[in-house]
Subunit: 239 residues, 2 copies
DNA sequence: TAGTGGTCTAGACCACCCA
DNA sequence: GGGTGGTCTAGACCACTAC
């Protein structure tokens, strides 16, 4: 099989919703219609639809059908802040990444990382600090610790472009999941140095431990955003 | 059927993981073993396991098996702040809710709510302000707007105890999903009044629009946390 | 080679909504 | 009653891991 059937169905419908071929508040074709349309079994169609449910794109209603509930980025008409997810997705905004630090250190030289990645003190790590400019202004300081044995040969060039592209495409490793936390913290020395004397000297700090498919932890990331420019959007379902 | 089979399997395994009968880093029984154990088909077992994957409880590895990746609340050994999800779940912490405001208003009297809930200006709403004390100190100001026609007869007693229990158990409505955002904002008049002259006059503000199963929006919630006491935990998978 | 998880099928029965 | 989504089955073939 060239492409998984349920992924094809999922991606096609997702695209239709994003492009508003299927519009907010209206029904999508029924499961039986999709079975016909894609020559798939109903369980396969349902697998695709469940991905859309997970994404917050559709809502299924028994006896009625499935309705598009995704409204693009206009859900929250409250602020014109730069959204965290927009930044992550690189939607429309002009990025510029600068590598401030790229060095090889051992886990003993920094606090917390040893515990976060469950490694011994003498494990070699890459220590990486990058700044992200958006429309000419530094908005994010990204600090990373990566296990060198798992992610070798990081260069400034790789760090400036895309670390994840290097890991996934060149090293052929599969990044799978992460645990993250968001807190608000006051500026430390690094932040004053990079952000300067900002009116509101606080950051939204996102810490994450990132894992490969085989559950190996390979990265500890600390992402510091100017707090006043930070917005995190979330879709969640009730258990 | 009294109870859905895949839910039974899911809940049993979930409980075993939470109670550490299945411990972090070890394998759970294989799909075929679970098929035997629960006298279910493999697809049913897989449906249960996929819920655990979604929850960040297990990681499936092809050719090998499924491994427990959930570690309780100890994943982030970085701060002893009060966690947002802990607060939400009411884990271990002493709550105290006080109702500051409970009134009937129309949508025209407040900004944003009309757009957020997609209602007309003359729609009647409940306006609710509650404060949440944790260990004796007010940490959260919860402000809600609810459509009266959908959620009638809210009393102070209901507001002090559990609004959601009232909606789900007494009114028999099914709360389904919400869109949320998290931002960092400076104190307004209400915050100064309730939190007082706090050293760090900023809040982590969580705004949410909450929907029923049939996609009806019924609630607009604004939850203001003392920024320095806020922590949001997240598990996410890479697409 | 044996065992694991990943995908897919064709059919069944059910609960729910609506005309 | 006809259409919708929700659950479940028994079997098939595949890709990957471990031995």
């Amino acid at each position: 099989m060239v492409q998984k059937k349920f992924i094809t169905i999922y991606e096609t419908l997702r695209k239709d919703i994003l492009e508003e071929k299927l519009v907010y508040g209206t029904q999508i074709p029924s499961e039986n219609e999709l079975v016909e349309q894609y020559q798939a079994s109903r369980e396969t169609v349902r697998k695709a639809l469940n991905l859309l449910v997970r994404d917050g794109m559709i809502q299924k209603i028994r006896g009625k059908g499935s309705i598009v509930i995704y409204q693009g980025l206009t859900e929250f008409p409250f602020s014109d802040l730069i959204s965290f997810s927009e930044v992550q997705k690189g939607l429309g905004l002009e990025h510029e990444t600068e590598v401030e630090v790229l060095e090889r250190i051992t886990a003993s030289e920094v606090p917390n990382v040893k515990e976060a990645l469950e490694i011994s003190s003498n494990t070699w790590l890459w220590h990486l600090v990058r700044t992200r400019k958006i429309n000419g202004q530094v908005k994010i300081i990204d600090e990373d610790y990566l296990i060198e044995a798992l992610v070798p040969n990081i260069t400034k060039r790789i760090a400036r472009q895309s670390l994840y592209a290097y890991i996934e495409q060149d090293l052929n490793l599969v990044i799978s999941y992460s645990n993250k936390s968001i807190t608000f913290e006051s500026f430390g020395a690094l932040e004053y140095q990079i952000f300067g004397d900002y009116v509101v000297p606080y950051t939204a700090t996102v810490r994450g431990i990132v894992h490969f498919e085989d559950t190996t932890k390979f990265q500890y990331n600390i992402s510091r955003h100017l707090a006043t420019d930070f917005k995190f959007n979330d879709f969640s379902r009730r258990r």
